[in-house]
Amino acid sequence: MLSRLPLLLVCIWLISGLHSHAQVGVIARLPRTTRAEMVARAKKLANHTWVCGAPNLRASCSKKYLSDWKFGQRVTGIPYRWGGIDGPEEFDRKLADGLAAGAHSRFGVLKCAAGIDCSGFVSLCWGLSASGHAYSTSSLREIGGKPKYNVFADMKPGDVLNKPGTHVVLFTGYNLDGTINVCEASSSQARVVCRKTTWSRFKGYIPLQYKGIED
């Protein structure tokens, strides 16, 4: 067994080299974007206004589907759809095609619904296209580096607070009272919202900084 140890080490070195090479490739292909563009995209998703039509209250691919909305309701914010990554134009097109407006995890990932979830929201804000690779809160780390700064003082707009497997929000700024502003695709509020909040909500979250950023 000991005689095979050097071989094993070489294999590990080769695999790690391949992995880091692949990582460099992923990062090189990331779209470049500025912090101002990230925040502008977040606000656009939060401020997008739409009206719920009768077909948007039903999901053709799910019998148990229940809508968060009412007929004719005017809503501000792209609706929450678990597994979704629809930007404003894509969402409007799907809405016009009669897809359901938003869906939660209890209905599964619905192809017949339109909207966006928390990691899809961050991906879009970071400039990744809806047709590209879908990142979850567990895989965002591949395109988001762990910054070495003081998170309570040096975080910059466009960075995110992520809890793998749970949730992710986009940071947009500090307030004078020490609280922060974030934008997120909120399942409980059923849409993209921006708000002021305290830190205690984010205990255990980890800051990430997009690797394709143009600072």
Partner: protein, 293 residues
Amino acid sequence: MARSYRIFLLLLLFGLLASDAPNGRPQLEPNVCTIPLTQVLRIPITALGTQLTAESLNAAPATLLLLPGATDELPWGPSGFDVLDDGSLLITDPLRSRVSLFGSHGAFRKAWKIGFAADSLTVIANGVVLVREATTGQLHVFDREGQALPSERGALPEQVEARVLNSNSGTVRRPVIDNAHGGPLAVQFDRPGLTLLSIETLAIDQKDDTYVALEATASGNAAEGLSLNKYVRRYSSDGKLLCEIADIPLDYYVPPVDELRVRKGKVYQLQTTNSEVRINVWDTNQLCSRPSH
């Protein structure tokens, strides 16, 4: 020999006193009266499976409902609450589109069928209750019996502005009462190794005492996850620090919208876990248990 030793000690003492002067090393806070957790009200929760059916929604009406969520989706359940003058509790129950009323000991009394999912509520003057619709942010007005008042327009009380000045101090812009009372409140947070992060004004009571929530951290390095502590302090109208709550748990299963409320000198915290809703109560009217330093 003994005399020179005493002189040396005297000089050392003077030196220490001088270093604590305002222009020298920061003065540590005087002993702060710390209020222990007075009471925990435990309200049972019914955790649903992934299926939301009429049966599951109607089951166990005296409990609150919780949907555990999924990968990349936060659990959904009670996130808003407030306290009436008699100590009874109003808690949002969004999965059932209702608000539930519990007695001051946590016993279920009744539910208001409000017809929408609420994520926050606030009791304002005369027992009027403002309930926020989660999906729109719209405020709906109810009387203390749970009757909707559609003609009333609700407005949340204006937030008293606060500001963090540096790593150990801040200020709260209270309204001026007279020359000795009210006006700017200086918040000094001198804890070795801790940095003040935020100040939030929770309430100003009938005695004009001010309640503030402070967040502080020991480290800005969050590579393994953000770490922080939360405190609530009560200040008298003349700006004296009366007491502090330092043992606020921050393990939330459902992130609260209404995290802390103050009523008649008692501080209430909503903590929704995966098995129950805990209302943690600290009575700041009681005597201090111990100084915190």
